[in-house]
Symmetry: C2
Subunit: 433 residues, 2 copies
């Protein structure tokens, strides 16, 4: 088999056999297939797509390209959750303790993020002392003990995806449904998930700008899951508004702390309960999503989720007292954006709020960029809320005065107030399973 012939096949609309997909992925990981052939192939895939059979085999080949986590020794049914990413998306941190409190263990490996804010791992790093790196033994032991651990993705999980994603990033081949879907699903499968709940977001603040694109991606991932024997459920959710009020690492942890104590913003709770409900269904502890949501609400009301979170922080070495007392570094510099008149706050552009958080230092521009964990934006008022003239709509935080000044300029045109109460779209569009 020669790679040049396989590139030509894909270029000319022919399908790859399973053996051909394995040849491509295994050869690429071993360095026998050079980057330039892989790049040409990825571009051919961008134009020609892949069948479900091809995509499923690609997923499996990538999942098996490195270490695979075997959670079967722990007992229980492991359910993983993945979000395609959005502005202010901290659902993983909220769902971990809630779902674990309802009897489905969560053993999650998460990445550091490129984007408006850091990834889950960066957010957790804003808790003093919190260890994001555990040995595999420590990780599994903790899951066995308290049913919950979240750590940084370890060395040799899905090396094929790591290598291919880095290549796609610099060759304009990121935006291909089969490549996105196989990338996401390969990581979940390598991490040992038996059930997978996907939060596929669409809108201004999401990678997929339209609900149609998001639906195709969701359907592809659900089909891959079926093909590979993993129960997979996708929630299509709207990301035209930031989720919750906080965008930024420490700021989001503080919002999670509030939410676990029953004071979470409505939109964040609605999305989290929907995702969590399906996680409990996939974890086979409830018969349907409504029962799942009821159990999750119960875990908030009786403090079980909150205490699970504190146990989780404690186990991974975090300063639990600082969390309880909300003593995380925020700012220290801050500036409000005030309403010039009274009225209903009009919808934000989630993407622009993301860029604002990035400007303040909350996100990474390149993989090597440091993150300002205390930087970010708080939406003092969300779209549809009433604001009085002179009250703050946004609060900007940064450790860097110049960035704060730059963001302040940028924020001048991001807010508007009107006499009409805006109609906000449904938050949950559809469930695909």
């Amino acid at each position: 088999m020669r790679m040049v012939d396989l590139i030509e096949k894909k270029r000319d609309r022919e399908s790859h056999s399973k053996a051909e997909i394995r040849f491509i992925i295994d050869g690429y990981v071993r360095g026998e297939i050079p980057d330039y052939q892989m790049a040409a192939w990825a571009m051919a895939v961008f134009f020609r797509g892949m069948s479900l059979e091809e995509t499923a085999e690609l997923t499996l080949a990538m999942a098996q390209s490195g270490d695979q986590l075997d959670l079967s020794t722990l007992g229980g049914r492991f359910v993983d959750k993945h979000s395609t990413g959005g502005v202010g998306d901290k659902t993983t941190l909220l769902l971990g303790p809630m779902v674990a409190a309802c009897g489905v263990p969560v053993a999650k490996m998460s990445g550091r993020g490129l984007g408006h804010t850091g990834g889950t791992i960066d957010k957790l790093s804003s808790v003093p002392g919190f260890r994001v790196e555990l040995t595999q033994e420590e990780f599994l032991l903790q899951v066995k003990k308290i049913g919950l651990s979240v750590i940084a993705q370890s060395g040799n999980l899905v090396p094929a995806d790591k290598k291919l994603y880095a290549l796609r990033d610099v060759t304009a081949t990121v935006n291909s449904i089969p490549l996105i879907a196989s990338s996401v699903m390969s990581k979940k499968i390598a991490a040992g998930a038996q059930g997978i709940v996907l939060d596929v977001k669409y809108g201004s603040g999401a990678f997929m700008k339209t609900v149609e694109q998001a639906r195709i991606l969701a359907k592809t991932m659900v089909d891959i899951g079926k093909e590979l024997g993993r129960q997979t459920i996708a929630v299509l959710s709207n990301m035209n508004q930031p989720l919750g009020r906080a965008v930024g690492n420490s700021l989001e942890i503080l919002e999670v702390v509030d939410a676990l104590q029953g004071k979470g913003p409505a939109d964040l709770m609605e999305v989290s309960l929907e995702l969590g409900g399906w996680m409990l269904v996939a974890g086979e502890v409830v018969p349907d999503v409504e029962t799942g949501k009821k159990n999750l609400r119960q875990s908030l009301q009786d403090g079980a989720a909150w205490h699970k979170f504190l146990a989780f922080i404690t186990e991974q070495g975090g300063d639990v007292q600082a969390v309880i007392e909300r003593r995380l570094t925020v700012g220290p510099w801050d500036l409000p954006i005030l309403a010039e008149e009274s009225g209903y706050v009009q919808p934000f552009d989630a993407h622009k709020i993301g860029v604002l958080a990035m400007t303040l230092g909350a996100g990474r521009v390149t993989k090597e960029s440091p993150i300002d964990l205390g930087a970010g934006v708080v939406l003092a008022k969300k779209a549809g809320e009433w604001v009085k003239a002179g009250e703050p709509i946004l609060l900007l935080y940064s450790s860097n005065k110049e960035k704060l000044a730059e963001a302040f300029e940028l924020a001048q045109n991001l807010t508007s107030v009107g006499s009409e109460e805006p109609q906000l779209p449904l938050l949950i569009e559809e469930i695909i399973k």
Copy 2:
């Protein structure tokens, strides 16, 4: 400017500015743009194509990426000729002396070929003592003295094309009209051509299988020539039958020797006169192609072309006596394929005859493969000729008995004889200028 953004532009059907094309080619030659980005871009070009303006700028950027030959000091108008390649195509060797004898100097740099037989340079290497490598000074001096020199392409001519072609070869991006057209034209322009005559072949033995594809390629190259101020004329010629009777390096030189003495096969002469006629038009020594053809015929009849050829061989150190006496190495092993019955020889498949010559050792499988200069095929009978039972149709030559035996097997199904005289298509389909 970032290459990833330019790949995305091309991927999304946007056009490149001249500055962007320069950025891509200059960056690639300098090694600042890596192969993997260039491969993704080439695949995007394969799918999206390029406008004439983009293709012309690509051609010019490649032509200017290394050394450029300045023939202006020699005086006269230089005309170059290029063939897209076919089985038994030895027109360059025939045309060089004929055109030079008619007053248009020929200063040609030629490549070693990958394909059924070697390139022009390999064919010339079968003349004992012939030097295919001259210094630039020797090359120009010889052109000044006798109006004709053909040498191997020197070190740093169109490095962009060399690098890009090697990459396209292994990434299934060869077959793209703008990339093929700019590759051909950049080499002609860097080599100092003021007029360019293109032999664009179509059919079984050509790179372009259909006349429609060939027409698009020809039109693209002619348009590039116009855009860059070089008179360019393309001849669309049929390559469903091998050109002439000989396919192989020494064998083709011997056929050229015959042809220059007025004993060339009709099809080879027809194509050569057409191309040569247009070369004289482009060289501005005749007012029209018919006058050009008349002059060329005259150069054959009065021996001027033949003596120009002998002077050319002499100047470049070749054994002119061996040429006159036809003492080139052929074979030494040979086998005929005989007619089983009498009748009209039916059309060959030119591609299969090419593969047969390759099997005998006449061509290169990879760039490093040695060539068996004495190997090849002679069509003792061409399509449409009458053969008697027991007479040879094909003659196979090789220095390797095993290859000869292998080719003999292969040749069993390549010939057929029938009672109907086959209708052969026109050899020259169209002139595009």
